[in-house]
């Protein structure tokens, strides 16, 4: 079942075209990586898919609805790129994860037993249960990112979208990260769209890789990518690290 679709989506900042007739689908239980060089339009496409930006042309559907008017918004989990945490105020891991539950339980309601179970489950999924009372600002970069993944998981989403979640994250956290995403796909049948430069850690679990550079250059299984001769059009030094983990 298709849970996310973009049909001939274009977007421009003024005269600068960032996305040009991009079409993309994601099914339930599918794990897809969206990759491309810097400035290829990945983050813009993600924001269009989330309904944070209105496309200049084309149509986006999330669970069959316009993402800006989505009825059950909790069905979409979102992990932003490097959340901007203020060190001045200590927010604990559990508080951060509980904040993600509001999308499901309603922002005015009090926390109930089902909410606590979901928060426990989310913490377990990213292996942070033992650190639940620790201020997030005291965690490593990888642990911080996992706490924000748990925040997104707390609403028990059917679609999880992650923006560069493992940039600069240590190898141990990348493995934990990969485990938590495959758990979400395999056990809960959720669809995952991972926007990243570095998909080496999850390459083995991916169903498809989509290569974007304003347009879709490639859309298929990782094993087919190496033989396609897709060139990203950037200098060798800028090639994304994910190439090393594919094939």
């Amino acid at each position: 079942m298709t849970i996310l679709s973009a049909e001939d989506v274009s977007f421009a900042y003024g005269d600068e075209v960032v996305l040009d007739s991009v079409s993309l689908t994601l099914d339930a239980g599918e794990f897809v990586a969206l990759v491309g060089p810097n400035g290829s339009g990945k983050s813009t496409l993600l924001r269009v898919l989330l309904g944070l930006l209105r496309p200049t042309a084309g149509q986006v559907r999330v669970f069959g609805e316009d993402p800006r008017n989505l009825h059950d918004r909790w069905r979409v989990g979102y992990v932003p790129q490097r959340p901007n945490l203020a060190r001045e105020v200590p927010a604990s891991v559990e508080e951060v994860v509980a904040a993600g539950r509001l999308a499901r339980s309603g922002w005015r309601s009090r926390m109930g037993a089902a909410d606590r179970i979901a928060i426990d489950h989310a913490l377990e999924a990213v292996a942070l249960r033992d650190l639940r009372d620790r201020p997030v600002s005291e965690l490593s970069g990888g642990q911080q990112q996992r706490s924000f993944i748990a925040k997104a998981l707390a609403s028990e989403p059917d679609l999880l979208i992650l923006d560069e979640p493992v940039a600069g994250v240590d190898a141990e956290s990348q493995k934990r990260f990969a485990d938590s995403l495959t758990h979400l796909v395999d056990e809960h049948g959720a669809g995952v769209l991972l926007v990243s430069h570095e998909v080496g850690a999850v390459a083995h679990a991916l169903d498809r890789v989509v290569v974007l550079k304003k347009k879709i250059l490639f859309d298929g299984p990782p094993s087919e990518l190496a033989g396609t001769g897709v060139r990203l059009g950037v200098e060798a030094a800028d090639l994304p690290l994910w190439l090393e983990g594919l094939g």
Partner: protein, 276 residues
């Protein structure tokens, strides 16, 4: 009824108003610090000054005039920031200077640069009336109720605005609520410590609490306790040694931060002190 130094009626009124403000100002300040808007209270305080001046000019009770101008200004400031027309600090500077300039012009027009105006600028907690206390308590109830009902959602928004928006939280409305609550807090606090020092009571207790606390909730509660203690100790010191109460309260709050930082350094904090 109460022992020295709170044995006089005027001290008891001051204590009542001060305790409410001491508890409420850091509640809002905790959200502002997390959002890196520690000086928002200062900017809105300058708008409140314009409101006080307008009230004196028009013959309206200055507290109501200050409340109207501060809330309207805070909502305007938030609108300017959220629409991307100006960065947070630029929007703040715009309102900050416009507010103080408008206040100066209105004071000039009303020819009322008198002791009454000074009590709003520098605080006049020892001159609060029963009516003042009732207003402060009313504003305090508004603040505490709003934080009790919307606190978790406000925390989610200050933590990460974009994913809160994706999750369907009414981010714009919650941001406006926080701006309006900041304005309400400023107006409630201006009779206690004065417009010029109002931001201090919103931020310094939070700075002290964050040295000890290890969660947002603990920071919220502890900062309110530090705020109340600062007011009580500051008032007592002002009475005993004949000091200006507004400034003394803020100096006590600053001293509490200094002592806490020295005694409970980072190493103590990391070993665990106050949890959620």
């Amino acid at each position: 009824m109460l022992p020295f130094p709170f044995d006089r009626d005027y001290m008891q009124l001051a204590l009542a108003a001060g305790v409410v403000v001491g508890a409420c100002a850091p509640l809002i300040g905790t959200f502002l610090v997390q959002r890196r808007l520690s000086l928002l209270g200062d900017g809105i305080g300058h708008l409140a000054f314009a409101g006080v001046a307008a009230g004196l000019l028009l013959g309206i009770w200055p507290v109501w005039a200050a409340l109207a101008v501060a809330v309207a200004g805070a909502l305007g400031l938030e609108r300017l920031r959220s629409r991307g027309k100006a960065s947070g600090d630029l929007a703040l500077a715009l309102f900050f200077y416009s507010g103080i300039a408008a206040g100066v012009v209105l004071v000039g027009l009303s020819d009322s640069f008198n002791a009454g105006l000074l009590t709003y600028l520098f605080g006049g907690i020892l001159t609060v009336t029963r009516q003042d206390v009732l207003v402060v308590v009313g504003l305090g109830v508004v603040i505490v109720t709003a934080v009790a009902v919307c606190g978790r959602a406000l925390f989610a928004v200050v933590l990460d605005e974009e994913s809160s928006r994706v999750g369907g939280l009414p981010v714009d409305e919650l941001n406006s609520l926080l701006a309006a609550l900041t304005a309400v807090t400023v107006v409630a606090a201006m009779r206690v410590v004065g417009i010029l020092l109002v931001a201090a009571l919103m931020v310094l207790p939070v700075a002290t609490a964050q040295v000890l606390a290890r969660s947002f909730r603990a920071t919220l509660y502890l900062s309110a306790v530090v705020g109340v203690v600062s007011v009580v100790v500051g008032l007592a010191a002002a009475r005993i040694w004949g000091l200006a109460p507004g400034g003394t309260i803020v100096l006590v709050a600053a001293g509490a931060f200094g002592v806490t930082s020295v005694v409970f350094g980072r190493n103590h904090v990391r070993s665990g002190f106050l949890g959620g």
